[in-house]
């Protein structure tokens, strides 16, 4: 039998093991989800991805249902959409708020976007709210559980993606609460502050405290993003730098980064603000006759830098000059460092910082 199913009247192929949701997404069907993160095992918690399956008595969650040959699937019927709207009304009613700053995290606007799409205003069903926010002194991760919808994405990303198992759930049903072992601070748990929970949270319940601190007013638009590579170790994780008015306000992991597939560590996620630290060198410095370093113009500093090499070369010969390239600067810098030594002095007196 061929690997084909019918989705909304169109016959499509699927690969062994693919879920209905994966097949549908590949064919650009818009199926709403809240508990789904493509990097994680399917969970089937939020039920928003339900679809009609011919021959099945009830709608099925497309994220947990594997495609099998001959299935006939309808993703967007009036009944399904009505179910989805009711589910969303219930979810929204439990939360303190839905409109959160996009600085809270990569996925923090997912619930608000669906609320808008389904025109849910939060008044049809109203009543108790769930989740108790947790005071946690740590400077990185806000634990605002009044916005939590118990989708378990944070718990699952910590376990499945990071392998750290730092957080889990206590209680059941309406009283479900995300917490750490012994309900303590993250610092006292197995948490490594990689920030993955922040970035997968679809409501901003877990949020980037550092990014929220970086802007005074509540940001309603996502800052500019620039794709680059993390400045720390050699793994080469892809990240997006978030900027607002020429200020770096946060980092998002690149979910399609070939080396990291959305993962980051505490350094890549949170240790970016050295860049705009007041200690940065802003002008060239020249050592004066009194032995102290003083600010100088580029002209003077470059002249003095060049003159020193010219003088040492003349007095001691070309084998008296050595270059050390950086393992932190881009390759263009390393390339020109070696070219400077080889072209300028005809020696191989060049190295980089890999020996120590």
């Amino acid at each position: 039998m061929t690997h084909k199913i019918e989705i909304d009247g169109v016959e499509v192929t699927f690969a062994e093991g693919e879920t209905i949701l994966e097949v549908a997404q590949r064919h650009e069907k818009e199926i709403p989800t809240l508990c789904y993160d493509p990097r994680l095992e399917p969970f089937g918690g939020c039920r928003l991805c339900i679809v009609e399956l011919e021959g099945a008595r009830n709608p099925v969650a497309s994220c947990t249902t594997k495609a099998t040959p001959g299935m006939v699937v309808r993703t967007t019927t009036d009944t399904i959409e009505a179910y989805r709207k009711t589910l969303l009304e219930m979810v929204v009613s439990e939360n303190r708020e839905v409109d959160v700053s996009p600085l809270r995290g990569y996925a923090s606007g997912e619930l608000a976007d669906l609320r808008d799409k389904y025109a849910v205003n939060g008044t049809r069903i109203s009543g108790a709210t769930s989740g108790m926010s947790k005071d946690d002194e740590n400077p990185f991760i806000l634990r605002d559980y009044e916005l939590c919808i118990s989708c378990y994405r944070c718990v699952r990303v910590c376990a499945e993606q990071e392998g750290d198992h730092a957080i889990n759930v206590m209680n059941r049903g309406f009283h479900t609460q995300i917490t750490t072992e012994f309900d303590g601070l993250l610092k006292d748990s197995a948490c490594t502050f990689c920030g993955q929970c922040i970035q997968t949270c679809p409501t901003g319940a877990l949020a980037d405290k550092k990014a929220l601190r970086a802007v005074d007013e509540v940001a309603d638009t996502l800052p500019d993003k620039t794709r680059t590579i993390c400045p720390y170790c050699g793994v080469g994780c892809s990240v997006d730098i978030l900027t607002k008015d020429d200020k770096i306000v946060g980092i998002h992991p690149a979910m399609d980064g070939p080396a990291n597939q959305g993962a980051l560590c505490v350094k890549g996620q949170f240790a970016y603000d050295f860049v705009q630290h007041s200690d940065r060198l802003k002008t060239p410095l020249i050592r004066a006759d009194d032995g102290e370093l003083y600010e100088a113009t580029w002209e003077d500093a470059l002249d003095k830098a060049a003159e020193g090499f010219r003088k040492v070369n003349a007095e001691h010969g070309r084998h008296s000059i050595y270059g050390i390239a950086s393992g932190r600067a881009p390759s263009e810098a390393a390339y020109l460092m070696q070219k400077f030594i080889r072209v300028g002095f005809g020696t191989n007196y060049i190295d980089n910082c890999s020996r120590a």
Partner: protein, 525 residues
């Protein structure tokens, strides 16, 4: 790395030695954790009971600096048990008969006397790795920062060659690089023995090529390494240009290093902060930082990727490449008239066979892992699939050697050094990132609780730690991560300059310092 990062999820048996990956390469470690969750066996060899050891199925707590002995013992068992891959050895390698003869003497019982790892555990590790259909080796500086770093790496190659665990998915010999562009710095030719693209400076064909390219005859012999250059400062080396390295804190034997840099007539440092090293310079030139610079970097799996500027630099800071061009132009050197980084990278690609298929535009989406020998080439995620660069894989008949210094009456404790999750190198960056102090406010010396008592130290109190080169004061922290007789500290904190103590010796071939082994004594303060 011989294999791509995605392969880390695929082995059946993973052998990690001298790598504290969950702290130093945390994102790479997530791949290993997934493999273990899937059912792969994890063997971890490390003197310290690091995070990886806690999740391993077999932990080999070897004495610092005894890696070669452990690996010889494992090779012995693999051969003795007939777990070798005859076909691979026949088709892809050379020198196995001599190697087989060589390792017959290095029994696991002998290895136990050197490594202090029980012979039966060495046997188990060998049996697991030798029986794997996909066995992968991961290592970091715990292998290379020894006087025998070359022998350690050769020993790992021996294991992979004799079992055929190379050139296939989920296998390989995989060193994890420590800095965002340390791979790229080597690729770019910032090495005393290689032109760009690892073209040897002693090969006449490369000499002719670069003579034509650069219009000057470069020395036909290798240059000296940084280590040698620092030793010769004030003697025959009189001027240095240092780009973005805090040599003073990162290198061993700080006093020697400071003395060396002070002895220079002319020191020019390009950096983003006034580092301890920049403070010694005659001219300090302010560079643009990450996030302010357009350029290219290459990661540990040889993936060539674009870094992009997101914000303007502070004050008058300029890109490293611009600064180097300006100095070169003032000296009348040819070939430094660049206005943007793009033609610089394209020049590097044009003259480097491993980058020949790349250019500034082609790396836009991080798709390529070198070698990319021509424009139609898809890149090389996995090395050595069909052949080795030099034809056949060579077995090395290595011998175990003691570290440069071993513990003695005067210095009875092994100090080993490394890094921590929350800090990076000399903290010029993480030390200036808000919040990091909450997780790691200060350095401390990790000491086994039983040793604390034995040596009259107190947990949380300061002690004096001395080596043959100097002494520092450091706070004591009780932890079972350190085995008895071995202590650990990172070199990240300027107020606890651990590299005042290190520097006992260097690998004679790579000149990598033995930062992982330093006999010390500890005294209460």
């Amino acid at each position: 790395m011989s294999n791509p990062l995605v392969d880390m999820q695929k082995p059946d048996v993973i052998f990690c030695i001298g790598t504290n990956m969950t702290e130093c390469h945390p994102v790479a470690a997530t791949g290993l954790k997934k493999a273990v969750a899937r059912g792969a066996k994890l063997i971890v060899a490390d003197p310290r009971r690091i995070g990886l050891a806690d999740m391993s199925h077999l932990y080999l707590p070897l004495r610092v600096g005894s890696d070669t002995a452990l690996l010889l013992g494992m090779a012995h068992v693999i051969a003795r048990e007939g777990l070798i891959d005859d076909e691979f050895i026949e088709n892809r390698t050379t020198g196995f008969d001599e190697f087989f003869e060589h390792i017959s003497q290095w029994t696991p019982e002998w290895a136990e006397t050197i490594t202090e790892v029980p012979a039966k555990d060495i046997e188990t590790a060998a049996m697991w790795y030798g029986s794997a259909s996909k066995g992968a080796i991961y290592y970091t500086l715990g292998i290379t920062e020894h006087i025998c770093g070359v022998e350690n790496v050769q020993s790992l190659c021996n294991l992979a060659l004799m079992t055929g665990n190379i050139g296939r998915e989920g296998t390989g010999i995989n060193p994890m690089r420590g800095q965002n562009n340390i791979q790229g710095a080597g690729d770019s030719g910032a090495l005393p023995n290689n032109y760009p693209g690892f073209q040897s400076v002693t090969d006449p064909a490369h000499q002719m090529k670069f003579k034509a390219e650069y219009g000057i005859e470069v020395d036909l012999e290798k240059g000296i390494t940084k280590v040698t250059a620092l030793e010769l400062c004030g003697d025959s080396i009189h001027a240095m240009l240092i780009d973005g390295e805090n040599t003073l804190l990162s290198d061993p034997d700080r006093e020697h290093c400071e003395h060396a840099l002070r002895a220079l007539e002319h020191l020019v440092v390009i950096d983003i902060f006034l580092t301890e090293t920049a403070e010694l310079a005659d001219v300090v030139l302010p560079a643009t930082a990450w996030g302010e610079t357009d350029g290219v970097c290459t990661n540990t799996e040889r993936r060539v990727q674009r870094m992009r500027a997101a914000v303007p630099p502070p004050g008058e800071a300029k890109s490293d490449w611009w600064i180097i061009c300006q100095i070169a132009q003032r000296l009348g050197f040819d070939g430094f008239d660049f206005d943007t980084p793009k033609p610089i990278f394209n020049e590097l690609c044009r003259i480097s066979p491993i980058y020949a298929g790349l250019d500034w535009e082609r790396i836009e989406n991080s798709e390529y892992q070198w070698p990319v020998p021509h424009k139609e080439h898809p890149g090389t995620p996995r090395l050595h699939e069909e052949t080795f660069v030099n034809g056949r894989g060579i077995f090395s008949n290595v011998h175990y050697r003691d570290p440069a210094e071993t513990i003695s009456e005067n210095f009875p404790v092994w100090l080993t050094t490394g890094r921590r999750l929350q800090s990076y190198h000399t903290r010029t960056q993480t030390g200036r990132a808000q919040g990091i102090d909450y997780l790691l406010p200060e350095e401390s010396l990790e000491v086994n609780p039983a040793d604390i008592e034995r040596w009259n130290l107190s947990d949380g109190e300061w002690c004096k730690m001395s080596s043959a080169r100097g002494s520092i004061n450091i706070k004591v922290k009780a932890t079972n991560r350190s085995p008895r007789g071995t202590v650990f500290a990172s070199f990240s904190f300027a107020d606890v300059p651990v590299n005042l103590l290190t520097g006992s010796g260097y690998d004679p071939i790579t000149h990598t310092a033995e930062l992982k082994v330093c006999p010390v004594k500890l005294e209460p303060l």
